[in-house]
Structures are given as C-alpha cells and as structure tokens.
Symmetry: C2
Subunit: 796 residues, 2 copies
C-alpha cells in the first residue's frame, strides 16, 4: 500500500508517537487475545493448545483499524477536552472496542470482576464469544456504545441522531468500507444538510477503507482515489486522506488529520454560533478517509496464502491453532510481536506509556454518559390533555381528524422543549400529509440548504425532520433516543416496513440493555403509523400493508407495545402514555381522515388504562346474562364498521343480545404469561365469553388475532375479519367490502354464527347481501359510496 | 427558473420541435383529463360540474416531466431503432405513462375498449383512479411498465436488473428528486460498477429535478449545481444538464442531451465489445439531469398561492372544481391551453403531427416485450438431480453442508446458461459464507473496478453478483426476473428483513399481473435463506431472526411459497421445484453447516411432492392404530432435535407410540381453502390426528404454526416449540436449549402432554431435566456442547 502524506505537517513528537503506538499495540494484543486465549493471557509460558479456546469466534480483520481510531480519539479528547462519542460502524469488531474500554478503565467499572490486571485480562479474554460471557459484537454489553453494528448500514445515521441538539458533543463515526455499500449508509452522507451548526454537535465521519468485506474487495476502496474524493465532495464534505501500512507514518498522518478536522469543526461552529443566521451558508464538514490494511499487524500469510491485507483476515486468520502446531507457533509469534512485556507490567497492568493518551473520567470513550442516554434523560413536559381533547356529547355525533388533534399536542410539546431541545419529530416528507401541521407553529423543518421565497416552514434550527428516507428517519431517531432524548416517527403505515430490520435491531438492543443494571432506561422509540391501509385513496394497493404490527409482535414482549386508538381522544391518551414511557418500542396506528369521536377524554383515559373494554352504550346485552354474540374491534375503521353493524343488528334483530368490545392495546389479547399486558383467563373470558361467537373486526391481517389469542378458552368461537390483500385505488367503503370487513358482512357473520339465527334471520342476511350487491353496481356507476354509507352516523 | 444551454448544439428542426411539443401537449392534456374528467373528454362543450369526477385522485406534479421524457424517448427510439425500456421512478405519475401508451397505441392493444378515439379517450379518463377502473400508479395494468414506483427507491436498481444480459437494450430510468433521497436509490448509483459493457445493455439515468416532494423541497434539487455535478461524477457518471421552463428551449436541449447520451452509450459499448478485455477501464456512462418545474404547464396560481413550480402541484392542483366555479373555469382554461383541437381530429384521434415521433411495433415503450418478460422467458436447463444428490444408505449416518451440495447444482445451471446468459445469483457478499462457492467454477463475480493480484473469482463478465446491499441484490434481481430471466438471492436469514418492503411490492406486482391475461407468467423470485437463526456462531443475537417467513405469509397465497428442506437431498428437490416455477416468490430456508442426511433422492422427491409426510422409519407407531403422540418438525435443526427426541423416547419409553412428521412446504399446514397448497381436513387429520398431542418443533417463531393451523381439528392439541428471541454468541446446542427446542425438552413435553405419562414417566422426565442442567454447567466450564450431543447420530 502506498503511503500518502497527511494533510498537515505532523504535530507529534517521537515520544508521542511511541506512546500512541504502545496503546495501539496493547489494544491489538488484547483484541487477538480475546479471539484466541482461554488462559495464559500474558504469555508467561509458551502457548499450548490448552490455552486456546475450543471454538474460535470473532472478527480480527477490522480490529486493528478500530483500535487505531480508539487510540487517536483518546489523544484528541485529551488535547481538546471535547465530549466525544464514537459510533463504531464495524461493530462486529467487538474485541477492539472491548480492548479500548478495558484500557481506559471504563470496562472494569461496569464489570468489576474484569479488572485492569492479569486476572482481569484472563477474564476479558475468556468471556469473549464464550457461552455465558459477552457477545462478539459491540453490543449493549460494551460500554461507550450506542450501536452494535451487526447489520451494517446505520452507523452514520446513528451518529447524526446523537449529534442533534448536543451542541458540545463531537460524534466520531467509523464507517467500514463494507457498510459503505449499503443504501442507508449512502443516504446518510447527506445528513449534514439537516445539521444545525449552532444547536447541534458535530459528526466526524471516518471512512475506514481496509479494502475488503467478508469475501470480496470493498467497492469504495477500489475507486480511483480522485473519484472517491470527488464523491465525498459531492456529498458536501471536505475529505482528509490518510493512508499507509507503516505504523509511524500512519500515526503521524492520522494525528495531523484529526487535529485538522477537529480544528475545522470548531472553526465552523464558531462561525455559525457567532455570525448570525445569514453567515456563510452551509458548512463543509471534514471527513477522514483512512486507508490501512485489513487485519493489519496480524499474520501476513497462512498456509502459503496472503492473509494480512486481504479478505482472509476477516474473522479468525489462524483457524487451526488447537490442532495445528504450526498455526499455534504462528499465533504465538504474532502475539509476541506486540511485545506484551513492554505494554503490561508484572501484574498485567498497562504501563504508563500505554495509558499516556487515555483521557480522564467521563471524557473516556467508554465512560461518556451520552452512550448511556438514560443517565441524561429528562422527562418530557406533557401538558394536560384537557387542553387538546375534543368535546364528545354523545358517541358518533362529531368527527375529527385524529392525527390533526394529536398535532396540537405535539406542537405544545415542541414549544415547551424549545429551550431544552430534547424532542424531535421525524418523518419521510409526510408530516403535513399526516395532518401534523400544527407542529410548524412551534418548530420549523430542519434545513441547511438553499431556500426560495415560496418555501414554507423551513428553518435551519428546526426540530421537525423531513427527508424522503425512512432509513434516515429511523436511524436519526434511534441515535437521538439512545443518547437520552425524545421523539416520534410519523410514517405511512405500509412503508414503515422499509425499516423492519432496523427496528428489529433496536428492539434487540433494548431487550439486552434492559437487563444490564448499569444501563439506565431510555426514552422509547415511538411510531405513529397513519395514512393506513383503509385510506390510501390516492395510491392504492402498493400503499396497503398493515403488517408492521405482526412484525414487531414477534419480538421481545417486554419491549414491544402496539396501540390502535379508535378515535381522537383515545389517540391523545395513547400518545401521553407512549411519550412518557421508557425502554419501549411503541407502535400507534391511527387515522388521519375525519373519523367519528366515540369517547370523552375521561372515557378514553379509562379505556386506555384497561387496554380493552366493553362499550356498553353500543351493545344490547342484558347486564344479567351472557350476550348472544360479541362484536369485537380494533382500529378506527373496523370500529366504525362494527358500530354500524351493531346498529343494524339493533334495528333488524333487536332480540339478539350484542356486546361490543373495543381493543386499543393489542397485547392485551395475549395470555398473561406471554406478555406483561396480557390478560388472565378470567379477564379474557369476562370480555369475550368462553362460548359465544366473537366476530372480530381487526385493522390488519386477521390471522394475527388468532396468533395472539389462540390459548384463550373462547378461541374456537373467534371469527376474525381484516385486511386480506385485496385492494386498489377505490373508495373507503369499497375497501372494507373487498376485504369482507364491512358492516353488512359483519351482520351476515352474526347470522351465520349465532346458533338458531340462520333460519330465523335469513331475510335479514339476504337484505345485507343485497346492499353489498347494490354497492358494487353503485360504485361502478357513480364512483362514490352508497349514500346510506356516506351519510351514516351512530344513532342511539 | 434559469435556462442553461444544452450540452450540444441542437439537432432539431423547427418542425421537429413543433411535433415533439404537440406530442407533449397531447400527453399533458390526457394526463390532466384522467385526473379530472368523467365526460366531455375533448371539451366539445363548456365544462360543467357533471363532467368532473366525484373524487379527484392522482398526481399531476410529476406528470409533465414524465410526459416530456416519454415524448423524447419516442424520438430517440425512432432515430436509433434501439430496443428501449423505460423505468418510471415517479410511478405515482400514472396518468403520464398511461397517456404515452394511449398515444403510441399500445394501451388500446391491451385494452381494446379504450381505443385511440374520442370514446376511447372518454374511457381512458373515466377509468383512471375510478372504482373498477385502473389504479393511479404505473401498476402492472400499465403496458410497458415493470415498476410501479409507489414505494420509491428502487427504480435505478430495477433498471440495472433489466439491463444485465440484455446487450441490445437501452434502459432509460427516470429518477424523481424525491426518490433520490432514499437509501436504496443512493446505493444504486454505483450499480454501473457491476455492469458489463460487453454482455449487458446500458442504463441511462434521467435525474428529474422538479424541485419538490409532497410538501418539501427536494434535497438534490437544492444543492449548488456544481456540488450535484461533482456528486454524479463521484458516482462515476458523466452528467449532461438540461434545465428550463421554456418548452422550446427544453425540447431542443433535451433532444441534444439524449442524442449525446445515446451516441456516447454506443461508443462505450462499441469500444468494450471490440477492444478486448483490457480496453480502457470502466466506462463513464452518461446521466441526464433534467430540471423543469413541478406541475409545469398546470395552474400557475390557485386561490392566490403559487402552484406550478411548487410542491402544491403534487397531487390535484385545483381541488375544488366540482363546487367552485372559479376553479372549474380555471381548469377549463388550463385544459384548453393545450389546444386540444390542434392535437386530436374530429373523431378524437391524435393528429399525424402528434404521432410523428412515435415509433412502430415492439419498439414502442408501451409495447416492448422486455416489460412483459414472460413473453421472452425460456425455461432454465435443470440437470438431473442424480448427478448432485448425496448417497444415503441409512438415515442420519452421514452429514453434508446442504447449501454446498446445492452450490454444485447451481454451478451446473450457471455453466449451462453460459451462452444464454439468463441466470444470475445475487447476494450481499455472502455467496462464499453461504457455501455456494462451487458456482465460481462456472462464473466469476461481476466486477468492473480495479483488481489486484490477490483477488479471486472477480470477472468483468461474471453473473454472480455480490454487493453489500440487500437492496441492490433484491432490486437487481427483481429487474432481471421482471424482464424474463432467472435468478436466486442467497441471504443471511436475519437480514433479508432489510428488503421486507421490497418483497411486499414484488408480491403485490405478481398478485396483480397474474390476473392480467396479457401479462405472461414470469420466472419466480427465489430466496435461499441460510446462515440461519440456529447457527450464528460468530455473531449472535443481532443475526437471529427467522421472521421473514411470517412476513411473506401475510401476502397473497397464490404467489407465496415457503420451504424448509431438512437435508441436502430435499434441498436439491426444492431448488429444482422453485427454479422451474413461475409467478411465485419462493422462500427456501436451509442450513449451511454440516447436517445429517435423512432422505435418499427418491425419498426426498416424494417428500417434496407431498410437502409434509410421516417418516415411518423414525417413529414407533403400529400401523393399525393412532400413535400416542406426534412429533412434528420443520427446518433442519428442529428435525435433528426431533429425531434425537424420538430416539430418546424409543430408548426410555418404548411403549409410547411415536409418529414423526416432517413438514417441508409450510403452506401445507394451512387449510385448503386458504392456500392452494393447503391440506383438506382429511389430509391434515391423517398426518396429525385430531386428538393426540402434537409436539411441533419449528425453525422460526412458534406462533406462526398456530396462525397457519388454527382452523384444523387437532389445533387444540398442538404444542409448538421454536425461536422465542433468546440468543447470544453461544454454541449450537445452547441455542436450542435457550429456546426450549432441544431434544430433552421435547421429551419432557411428550411426558407432560401424553395422558397418563406424567406419573409413570416422571423419572424419565427428571433424567431429561438433569441433562439440561448438566448442559448449563458444562458449557460455562468448557465452552462446548456436551459430548453426548456433539457426538450424537441417529441409531436404529
């Protein structure tokens, strides 16, 4: 590999270079030790197979590069005293970040049995990727981390999320050249176009080109250097290139590049913070391009094949050490090449030279409270809902756009956090479409690019984030909440699947971090899913998918919550609940189109507290006896159709005792043993009975209800209607008819399933079927819904 | 908007400009007409509210730009005679593409009642976004389309997929500036680095900057022009800029840019195809940047607010035309501004000048067979499986890596399509990790960038595609199969969720296209999911998610198939089946680690044909009577644990009659009425009984089995074990123990559930529990699995 000069003359003395190199060698030694050694951590005796782990797991290839960055970030933190958080994109290089945190002492603070001495080193090595130990990635178990990096693609978005509204924080972000090929990472390069240099911190991307992925060269590493430079400039950055395979040269060049970068960041921030709003346009933030060999300092060749500097160093470069004496000997030579005796004293403690670059206290990368955001979080100021609720004199008389009502509440939260700046709303260009426009009264939309006189609500200091990338919305918000701030992601229901895999990773993070006593509870990640399956009038089939709920309900019950508030007041109560919660992923599905108001604020509060309940006013059952049928519903449109069906039954079959049950918290349907919100058998049976037919109108895929409720006694009598992938560009009522969720079909279901009704109510059934037939003819002729449906409202 | 000169002097005569403008005006008229008009299509009489649709749905804003591209692509097709396909990224602009295909006559060929005359125009208008008509997007109903564009992000990847192995095809791709903000699109810019100028066709990206998304400025449209130019050059492209709001200028500039681009494409192809492999390095393909106003030629202002050239033109710029006479008058002025009488003759037919640019026959954009790939598809040559199957003298004696065995078959298919070039394997840098390395013997990995001497298997003409982006893998393969070629996507099981939303859209496309008689059946989209949840030894919890199966099973049953072959021979039979299928999304989950061989090829064939069956040799039931318990399993690891449990039962409780059932086709578990592969009640009961306990060991989330089988009679006796989100970096056996899927737990389940066993077999149950306890102690001490587990194999 060629050696290019650093961007500045080196500021390092030879002594400093020696000290940095000592820290780096120590970290490399510790990383390799974790992958291989069960015992004999300091090589006090010659290596034998007994010292080697039975299963060799982990990723060496990226580790020397991550170690190098850890070493040099230590140095600039000491130099500048800047609060610094590092997002380690190649998080599979767990041994590196563990090594860094062991060296800076933060690891022993969260794991006191793993002290900074020989016995601690033995435990550090043994526990790595060992059953009952620590996992192989930069998982929640690793101090200083907000990012596991297992999936790849989200490091830079996380880094920006951490930097927003953290004006004094520098967020370094190591981006592997593998990760750099992903779509989400490619989009993330534009994030600085939304970063406010006055109120936000800085992100310093470090694109680490070690040249290879698992088994292939990395794309960006093989571009002509000028083309890569052009690309980064096109992204709006100022690249600083560091390359080499000679440690001394690279230490000097990287130190110079980091000094240049950090000085430049300060200068840009100073200009923006003192120059007024009109000063100078969007900054060109620095980015460091770091080119070093994959598996650097590891085995150069193994069994005659090149390893260092190739993809073969990705995981375990010497796989046969337990059985192959030559491999064992090569491992020993490799480990001894770091000269452990120079690095650690007789007790196994790092020598002063090794620790010379390490900063103190909370400045250490492993100890920054920003990576344990629960330590910093403040509760959101949530105003009394009475100021936002809609009056409901009687159910079903008035309509509101639920998300518009919520928008007023969010606007207040936005206003009340104007100084604290710890609340953000993110969405893929849909805030207005989703009727949340009231928030613009409290905060504009973040935007650092050129504006035109016709623009509205753009604001370089705004905390509403809009970009047409669900990945960026999700990644930014994850970074924001992981560092202890609050937010809400409003998204079209169908397209939130774009981030299925990201939410998986976030839920897994929370599942683990909740179990770590030293990690403090985090603000929840909150979704508002609207523009939902039943009201995609402008778009149709491609915009219809209610399956995100199914997706998240596969995940850890202690983390996942799903709410389907049926009206505006219930949405307000749900929002209050989720915004105050911790360590959750809350999914709220609600309509943006005008929908009926069913519950007063007090009723809505009680309903949310129960999660599911009988709406006595809507049914016809006698208090004393079991109903003939239960009409259950979840979601705004199914609730409307269910109430319309209940009304039809009251008119046409008044002697059928109908109970109406509404479910707002979907996890209530699960058994108590399966989810903390689940119902006991007695609770479930009291709502749904054990033997009466239950016609359940559900917002999403009908089989989800069976999946949740199959253990309950009444399950055999449960009949669910929902979305079954039938859709196109059509009217709202036609959508429910196509999916057999309409009021008439629900009445027919009652007739079909209540014992004895089939014959007696055959005429009613036929009448219902006739309306459906009439609907089909009407809609093809007029393009609208039947007047009796369009004009329907609840009558008591 | 300022007008920049085109890159070349214009080649157009004034007459040509007039003709192009006539076509464009006609298309704009037709697009607006579709959004608004129920009747009076040619404005023979003054507009009245009765002529207006009751619900105004659709997207005007992007339509004039799409129309402009349609017009000018017509011209270059005529000029060059090149087979051309256009991918319309802003596919929500359905009215535009429908207008273009109506004008080129292709629409009337697939919809004969919508002729190219006044009555046809009336129907074209009325049916758009009208119930029972055509949807508002460029959906399968639109001829010439392979891309709906509803979700945004995948146009460019689709375009490259269409271009691969289509050397004579030019794929134009309109990328909206909204879509350009997405991650998948951002990554797609690098696709040309994998495009072989010799064997592949060309992609011509047309980045259309109309400046706005739904409610915000578009990011790329607001970059300084030199920064955008730099960005595109960094992507490796040669940008050609066209900008303006004066139609004549833009016609001339766009024609010049397209001529330049197409000439440049031909030149690059000629060089590559005549110059040998070493000629000149990777080409710099042209890209056109087209800057025109959003909603161009539409209403300039509405109710005093600017509309043309702003986000307000996104959907329906004049929303109140039915009720607001001023809006109605403005609509009429707008429509008449296109001078319909100059464009259409007395019968409503387009005048010759309008059609002057339109090419003939299959060259028309609406008629290209590449957009109806089923017309072009050839069956894959599938070799006899006997050449690849593994010998199985008795079950469970030998082991193979199933995906490695499959790799040999895929290598043959790759070799046998070397000349045809209609088969590709895609994967995110995991082909080798997934043990499919044999394919490199038949084809290298596509790669156009710089290579090094240490590289292996890179080949500028390769048909194995590896890039660390699941989005690109999916998008490329979708484009490839939609244009009638074959492929397989091999992916880590957990991370295929990255493309959840993309597969949604593809399934929706197939669901619709299958119902259109003029669309021919397409090759299936095939997934091989491996490196699955039970064997993520190097990675752990973040790499464990078997939920993609749950995700796809929410979708249309006529399209979705899910297979879990338990061993190598069954995987071969499954692969043969899916590679020969049409119009499906096939998900195959299989292990890459050595696993036991259970079935001979003939047995595997029979098992695959049935989809689920009794493995008599593994059970202990008497032919004459019902078993005491059914041990069911699906997936390689659950099958192994189930057989080990069956063996333990045979040893410890020989009088318990055990039936072993293996399920390879998951949809067999559904009722016949719900899925074409579903079982009748008699079939299901014959396998699972109606009243005996069924202990089902399933590969994924256990509740999926309940969701599939809840309607069957025996459901109340079904007890499912599977993955329940418990994982870390640990051993294979510890993974199944953590999730209660291990053999000992399965035996305990049998004891707990078979009537009468609880007391009689209490000792056996305790013995099983003791082994599990021993496991926990052993693994923490040794880091390996119990010897009795590690050394286990099936004994008869």
């Amino acid at each position: 590999m060629s050696s290019a000069p650093g961007p500045h003359r080196t500021p390092l003395t030879d002594e400093e270079v020696r000290a940095l190199d000592a820290h780096w060698r120590a970290a490399n030694y510790l990383a390799a030790g974790q992958i291989y050694l069960l015992d004999n951590p300091l090589l006090r005796e010659p290596l034998t197979p007994d010292h080697i782990k039975p299963r060799l797991l982990g990723h060496w290839g990226t580790s020397p590069g991550l170690n190098l960055v850890y070493t040099h970030l230590n140095r600039i933190i000491r130099r500048n005293g800047t609060d610094t958080l590092c997002v380690w994109g190649p998080g599979h290089g767990g041994p590196a970040v563990l090594a860094g945190s062991w060296l800076d002492g933060s690891y022993s603070e969260i794991a006191p049995d793993v002290g900074r001495d020989e016995e601690g080193m033995r435990r550090l090595f043994r526990q790595f990727s060992f059953p009952g130990g620590v996992p192989s990635h930069v998982a929640p178990e690793v101090p200083g981390s907000i990012h596991e990096g297992g999936e790849l693609g989200y490091s830079l978005a996380h880094a920006y999320g951490a930097a927003f509204d953290n004006p004094d924080l520098l967020v370094a972000c190591v981006i592997g050249d593998g990760e750099a090929e992903t779509g989400p990472l490619a989009a993330s390069w534009h994030s600085h176009r939304f970063l406010d240099p006055r109120h936000d911190g800085a992100v310093l991307p470090i694109l680490h080109l070690n040249g290879y992925k698992i088994a292939n060269p990395a794309l960006l590493a093989r571009l002509p250097e000028d083309e890569l430079d052009t690309l980064l400039r096109g992204y709006g950055h100022e690249p600083l290139h560091v390359a080499g395979d000679d440690p001394e040269h690279v230490h000097r060049a990287l130190a110079a590049a980091l000094d240049t970068a950090v000085d430049r960041v300060r200068e840009l921030q100073h200009t923006a913070r003192t120059g007024g709003d009109k000063g100078g346009g969007r900054p060109r933030w620095p980015v460091i391009v770091l080119r070093t060999p994959k598996g650097w300092t590891g085995p150069g060749e193994v069994d005659g094949l090149p390893v260092e500097g190739t993809w073969r160093s990705h995981q375990v470069p010497l796989p046969g050490v337990r059985d192959n004496p030559a491999h064992l000997a090569q491992l020993e030579r490799w480990l001894r090449s770091y000269r452990p005796d120079d690095l650690f004293d007789a007790d196994g403690r790092p020598r002063p030279e090794v620790l010379a670059c390490v900063p103190e206290g909370a400045r250490r990368l492993g100890a920054t409270p920003h990576a344990n955001g629960g330590l910093l979080v403040r509760g959101l100021p949530l105003p009394p809902l009475e100021e936002f609720s809609v009056p409901v004199d009687a159910p079903g008389r008035t309509t509101h756009e639920p998300t518009a009502v919520l928008g007023e509440l969010l606007a207040r939260v936005m206003a009340d956090t104007a100084k604290r700046r710890d609340f953000r709303l993110v969405g893929p260009d849909e805030t207005a479409s989703n009727r949340l426009t009231a928030v613009y009264g409290a905060s504009g939309k973040a935007w650092q690019e050129h504006t035109l006189p016709t623009d509205e609500d753009l604001d370089p200091h705004g905390r509403v984030m809009e970009v047409l990338s669900e990945h960026l919305c999700q990644g930014w918000l994850e970074g924001y909440v992981l560092t202890g701030r609050h937010g809400l992601f409003s998204c079209y229901e169908a397209f939130v699947h774009i981030v299925d895999s990201m939410v998986n990773q976030h839920i897994k993070w929370l599942t683990t971090s909740r179990r770590l006593s030293w990690r403090a509870p985090l603000p929840s990640l909150n979704y508002l899913l609207t523009s939902h399956v039943w009201r995609q009038d402008h778009n149709g089939f491609s915009h219809q998918d209610p399956g995100f709920v199914d997706h998240v309900l596969n995940k850890s019950p202690e983390v996942v919550r799903v709410y389907l508030p049926p009206d505006a007041n219930t949405l307000l109560c749900t929002a209050e609940r989720v915004l105050a919660s911790r360590d959750r992923v809350n999914v709220v599905v609600a309509g943006k189109q005008p929908g009926f108001d069913w519950l007063t604020l007090d009723q809505a509060r009680a309903h949310c507290a129960r999660g599911a309940g009988i709406w006595e006013w809507a049914g016809t059952e006698d208090p004393g006896r079991e109903p003939d049928v239960v009409l259950a519903c979840a979601g705004d449109v199914p609730t409307q159709e269910t109430l319309a069906a209940a009304q039809l039954l009251r008119e046409h079959l008044p002697d059928v005792a109908v109970r109406v049950v509404n479910v707002v918290d979907m996890t209530r349907l699960m058994p108590a043993g399966e989810h903390p919100h689940g119902m006991t058998p007695a609770e479930y049976d009291a709502l749904f009975t054990t033997d009466r037919p239950v016609i359940f109108a559900y917002h999403g895929y009908p089989w989800l209800i069976h999946r949740l409720a199959y253990r309950h006694a009444g399950h055999a009598h449960l009949h669910v209607r929902g979305y079954k992938e039938s859709g196109t560009t059509t009217t709202p009522f036609d959508m429910v008819v196509r999916n057999d969720l309409d009021r008439y079909r629900l009445v027919m279901d009652v007739v079909d399933r209540v014992p004895g009704l089939a014959v007696r109510a055959a005429g009613v059934r036929q009448a219902m079927a006739d309306v459906r037939t009439r609907h089909h003819a009407w809609i093809r002729e007029h393009g609208t819904d039947l007047p009796e449906v369009a004009d329907w409202s609840w009558r008591t």
